[in-house]
Structures are given as C-alpha cells and as structure tokens.
C-alpha cells in the first residue's frame, strides 16, 4: 500500500502547506501540461528536478520518496513496454532518438506526473481541497463525493490489509506462482474490498440522508480562502513556467541525449 502512503496528508505546516490550494493546483496543472508537451529526455529531467526544492521546503521528502518507490512497478512496466515497441516498430519513436532514450523519457514523464500530484496531495488537507473546489463554484455534490473519496483512501488501505491477513490465514500465498498466477492471487483480496466499499457507501448515503444532507440550498463556510502575497508569487512562478515551456516547445530545438552522445 506504499503508493497510497505517498499521497496521504499529514498535518504539518510549511510555506507550501499554507498556500491556497487553488494556486497549488494551478502549479500542478502547469507541471502536468509541461510534462505532456515534451517527450525529450533533457526537458523532462529538468521538470523532474524542478520539483525537488518544493518537496524540501514542504519537508515531505520521506513520503515523497515513498510515493516514487510505489510508482516503480508502473514505471518499469511503461519502460519495458515502450522499449519493446520502440524496437519492433521504430516508427513510434521520434527521429534522432534511440528507443532506449525514448523509453526512458516516457517513464520519466509518468514519474513527473506522479511526483507533482504527490506533492499536491501531501501538502493539501482534504478540508482545504473541498474548500477550494467549493469556492471555485463546483457543485457541492461533486465536491463532497471527491473529498469523501480522498478521505476514504486510508480507510480502504487499512481494510485491504485486514482482508489480506484474513486470506493469508486461509493459506493464500500472494507471492507464489508465475506472473499470471500472482495477478490471480489478488482476486480474493479485491472482491471483498470492492464489495465492502459498495456496502459502506450505501450505508454512508443513508446516514447522510438521515442527517438532512442537502436540506439547505445555499451553504456557507466557516473558512474563506484568500489569495495572499506568497500565493501571487506561486501564480507568477507557474505563469513563467508555462511561458517558458511554450517558448522552448516552439522556438528551441532540443538535442536528444542520443545525438549528444553520438557526436
């Protein structure tokens, strides 16, 4: 469950934690767009390391590293997949780039996406998140559904652990067998998990309804989000980042590592 661990919020305070969640989301969005705009390894490396100062300022490096480690399985999958198809159909790889470099950049792009979202979730409390959504005029039903989903991740993780224990006590060995067998080993874990999640959601809906959910048309909030100076700074940083990304994309030819090495 280490992937979830990398997204779980802990109550600490840092300049990053205190930023307006909307602004932080803008920053994540810019990172996201930038990562999708490029498939060149040098740029993706820059994007990857650009986040490190944020992580250090927020003081969440341990959880951040854990989320990266959790993503390793998918990263390896992406890498092998891209490498394989890069060799059997070279048309999918851009000119002047070796399939190996391309596979590297595809995996790194995924990592950049994971790390930016991880930083966002690690430094934003679920309450702040719902506030941000609400005050961006997202209907409350959606906001609520979203924050409930986020809030229940640790609960589900814990439940998955219990289910794993229960099935191990019946002789299930998760690490046994070849790849397909190992995937199938997870069926006895996933079915009870999904069934109990559905049961829980029905119960939650009934409990909410009996407490008058949705009775008032217009809701007010105890806390109101305000954009401060430091938030403005982050907006400016994001804007510069986006502008630079667009500029580099259209006006700069990026050398590939393959070309640099072959010179």
């Amino acid at each position: 469950m280490s992937v979830f661990e990398g997204f779980r919020f802990r109550h600490v305070s840092s300049p990053i934690h205190r930023r307006d969640p909307r602004v932080k989301f803008l920053y994540v969005l810019v990172m996201f767009i930038a990562a999708v705009m490029f498939n060149e390894l040098p740029v993706l490396l820059v994007l990857f390391f650009l986040q490190v100062p944020f992580v250090l300022v927020a003081g969440v490096q341990r959880q951040w590293l854990r989320s990266l480690r959790g993503a390793m399985f998918l990263v390896t999958f992406l890498f092998v997949f891209n490498l394989f198809f890069g060799y059997i159909s070279p048309g999918t790889v851009p000119g002047g780039v070796s399939p190996l470099e391309y596979a590297f950049s595809m995996s790194l792009r995924f990592l950049v996406l994971v790390e930016s979202f991880s930083v966002f979730f690690l430094t934003t409390s679920p309450d702040h998140l719902s506030l941000a959504l609400e005050q961006s005029r997202v209907p409350y039903e959606f906001t609520f559904a979203f924050t409930t989903a986020v809030r229940f991740v640790p609960v589900l993780a814990e439940e998955a652990q219990t289910i794993m224990d229960a099935q191990k006590a019946r002789g299930l060995e998760l690490e046994k067998g070849n790849f397909m067998k190992r995937v199938r080993n997870y069926i006895p874990i996933l079915i009870p998990l999904i069934v109990s999640a559905i049961r829980r959601s029905l119960e939650l809906a009934e409990a909410m309804e009996s407490r008058g959910w949705g009775a008032a048309k217009k809701r007010t909030n105890l806390y109101v989000l305000k954009i401060r100076e430091a938030d403005l700074m982050l907006i400016i940083i994001s804007a510069i980042l986006l502008a630079t990304a667009v500029y580099v994309r259209y006006f700069v030819t990026i050398p590939s590592i393959t070309m640099i090495l072959s010179k």
């Binding site: 289910i163 224990d165 229960a166 191990k168 006590a169 002789g171 299930l172 009870p192 109990s196």
Partner: protein, 277 residues
Amino acid sequence: MIEVKNVHFTYPRGEPGVEALKGVSLNIRNGEFVAIMGQNGAGKTTLVKQFNGLLKPTKGEVLVDSVSTRDISIAQLARKVGFVFQNPDHQLFSETVEEEIAFGLRNFGFKENTLKRRVTWALNLLDLAEYRKTSPFMLSGGERKRVALASVLAWNPKVVILDEPTIGQDHRQKEILRQFIVQLNAQGKTVVIVTHDVEFVAECGPRVVLMAQGQIVADGDARKILTDPGVALRASIVPPQVTQIFLGLTDLGLPTDVIDVEEAKKVLLEHLEGDKR
C-alpha cells in the same frame, strides 16, 4: 501447543513508542479452551495474530508445536492454526458457498476427492448444506459468519481462533455458536476466542486470560476471574449480571462466585428453603 515467551510487539506504522504488547507470556496446551478478554485496544487481537504468524514478535518468541513462528511461513502455520476473522465480509469472495469453503483446501493442496468430502463435511457441520450453491453474498449476517467458520474448519486445523465470534449475532445464533464451540472443544480441538462478551464467556466456562494495556493481568478459571470485582475493574470489564446481583447480596451470606443463571437459581432456592426452616 502454543507457547508465548515474553513477547513485545510494536506496530511498524503505528505511533512511535506505543507498544501493543509489553512482555506477554502464555502457554496454551493441546485441547484447551481459552477466552482472551479485555477492553478495546488491550492487545487481544494483536496477541492472537502472533499465533498464526500474521504478526511476528518485535522481541521474544512464539512457538507453535515447538517451532518458532519466525522460522515457518504463514501458510504452513495456518494449516495448524485456523483463524476466523471478526467480519466475514473481509474474506468471502467466491461465487458459491461451496467454492468459498474449498478455497483454503485448494491453497493447502488437498486432492480433489478429499476436497469434495471435506467441503460436504464442513457444510453439514455448520448446517449450511442447503446453501451449497448459493452466493455467500446473498446470505444473512449469521449465515455468512457460519460460512467463514466452515471455510476454516474444513481443513481441520488443530487450533481454532475466533476473533469476536458473538458480535452482531442474535441470542439464538449465539446459543448455537456456544454449543458448537463447546462441542468442538469436547472433541479435542484447541479453541481460542477473543471477546469482550462476558455473559457469553460465563456460559462457556473456559480458561480466561484477561488483558489490559498490552499485558496479561489475570489468567485462570472463568469462575474465579469473572467474579473478582478487583480484577474486573483493572481490565475495565463488568462481571456477568448474575454475578453482580450476588456481589450486591453478600450481606445475606450468599456466595459471590456464581456466574451461571441455572446455578444462581439453585443457590437462591437453597437459601430460601433454609430461611423457611
């Protein structure tokens, strides 16, 4: 059978410095019937999870049949020590009750014809034969609990651990469960139940191991432990209602170690007859 030697345990992801078990030593002999009691968070479940290797001691050692739980896989231990979890919904996943019961047997590599025989045996044992082809998700709470129990008993483990078996059961189901457990034990199986249902334990009359804050505070016969108000207070449990009445009537010269309703009737009748004479 199960030897717990000065076991300490700290959850790796829990709050640092909080020990769930602080030096627990316990011996469970073959064929014994033990109830592990105590309030929430006393360490009951943490302790029994050591018995089948789901948790390994941070310090100390647990021996099952003289083999340390560290030297043997959970699956190998599970073959000897069956563990029925509190919530049956945490383990049911098959399309039919029959398949559900066969799951453990398959994991332990039972041959197909032995497997069929064992499934039928377990279905009959828990009165589930009519649900053989039913989906476990369609059954009532009590029935699901029985399926979970059958799915463990099917491979006939030497020891059966039941975590909170009485939760969510109505009176009748509890009584059936009680008779079933007592019968299992009478047939020589070692039974360990984890519970805070005092009345249930009083009716079963097993050896009681009382826990509080990660330690064993009392260990002995149910009658002795459950009727001792001092011990009960330390572990935050309340003596059975019958016992409470007798504890309040000491002025009349009545005994205080009564835990059973039938027994209470007899003692009271004798006392009243004595008064008449």
